[in-house]
Amino acid sequence: MILGILAGLGIALFGFTLQSSVAGINRKVVARVQKRYGPPWYQEFLDIFKGLSKRGVTHGWIFDFGVIMAVGGIIATAMFMPITSNIAAFSGLDNFFIFVYLLAVGMLGMAMSASGSGNPLASIGVMRALTQMFAYEVPFLVIVMTIIKVTGTSSLVEIMAYQGQNGWFMWTMPLGFVVASISLLGMLGKKPFETFIAPAELASGPMVEYGGKHLGLLFIMMEISHFIEVSLFVHLFLGGATTIVGYLIKYFLVYTAANLYSYLNGRFKIDQVVVFFYKWILPLAVLQAVWVLWR
């Protein structure tokens, strides 16, 4: 048990290191696309540790407690994530629904903390984040439910094994792959669905009152939540991985593709996001489900 918890914390640390490095490399990639030189690849680490080295301003105990709850909840979620089909802290506890439920703890912690700051822009940001979550979760869950129905299991490792035998869901469920890719952009807060951060409009939304240590902790939370979301995508649609090298390659490709695509786009308004997902993406998801289940 104790070894399992230590291994889980190791996975969370691995996820943080991996996502920070990949995000840093991506800043370099985007800079080269824009014909700039770009920051060093470890810039994300510098930003986070700089935040932790500064003095934070508190706005009451809910503000502080929510940040800790967000980081703790996200670390607890990441502990259950299998890296490859062999490397997992708690084997047998890699059920998809664990991530759905535990991810909400971290997000709600952040929402509580941001509302505790008393800034109206933070409240608007939180409201938009939750609205957007309602928009992308429904089509995404329709596709994941289809996968669970097809494979007959909700364990990520078994879904990986199923894809190893029957082909990746990226190929067998192409429409579902499109739906999940667009939902992934929404989860990561990448650009067409950047509504809740919106630096020029909401002054970075939920993060508006954070500075110093609080901001550093929040960035750690964001990196680990990105790790969870991208890993879920890799495991569910790209066949997971049997070796760590394969996992790293798939992870890097997925995140880089999402990031590069986001730089081609402007930002939707929040009502446009909801209408877009319910009008175009949800029917695609349902079509895919009908196609696979009753063909």
Binding site: R27, A31, Q34, K35, R36, Y37, G38, P39, P40, Q43, L46, D47, F49, K50, S53, K54, R55, G56, V57, P199, A200, A203, S204, M207, V208, E209, Y210, G211, G212, L215
Partner: protein, 193 residues
């Protein structure tokens, strides 16, 4: 009225040993990742986009624009300082989390520049807020801007960017100057009053 004396205009230079390992380590991160809050009131602000984009690329120094004062490390005051902006400037500066720095652009913040005889312009910024680095030129070209930021990084490295300590130690003096200039420092909340 009793004159308030400035207590500690130039905090004594601390050596690396006196600052300690943690401060040294923190300074390493703080100088590699400087986030800016741009207070673009004057004409010098027009030189910032060039410094940020393709040719000069500020991001290679780890610098980037930030949306709110809480997240920012350095406050850029680009150009002349009018009476009405000073109050907002103080308000923004006091919201930033320590350690915080100020970079002032152009001659207007030193002596008023070409606006020195205007009734609406304050001539010397350093009387009201502690400036860490000045960037010269009217307007400073992007090379000067980048050079100013490298100077700021070196000042942080040597432990000389101590404006925020100076502000804390001599707060009474700064506040007296501010009140003499703008009357009251508090910014009214038009939505809730």
């Amino acid at each position: 009225m009793e004159e308030i004396r400035i207590k500690n205009a130039f905090p004594t230079q601390e050596t690396a040993e006196q600052r300690g390992t943690w401060t040294e380590l923190g300074d390493y991160f703080r100088r590699q990742s400087i986030w800016m809050l741009m207070y673009c009131t004057g004409c010098c602000a027009i030189e910032l986009p060039q410094a940020m984009t393709t040719v000069y690329d500020m991001e290679r120094l780890g610098m980037g624009p930030m949306a709110t004062p809480r997240q920012a490390d350095v406050l850029l005051i680009t150009g002349y300082l009018s009476l009405k902006t000073l109050r907002r400037l103080i308000y923004s500066y006091e919201q930033m989390s320590e350690p915080k720095y100020i970079a002032a652009f152009g001659p207007c913040v030193l002596n008023g520049g070409i606006y020195h005889d205007s009734h609406a312009v304050l001539n010397r910024l350093d009387d009201y807020l502690p400036v860490d680095v000045y960037v010269g030129g009217c307007m400073p070209n992007p090379e000067s801007v980048m050079n100013g930021f490298v100077d700021l990084m070196n000042l942080i490295k040597d432990g000389k960017a101590t404006g925020w300590k100076r502000y804390r130690d001599n707060h009474e003096w700064y506040r007296a100057n501010q009140i003499a200039a703008v009357g009251e420092v508090f910014v009214h909340d038009e939505f809730h009053e």
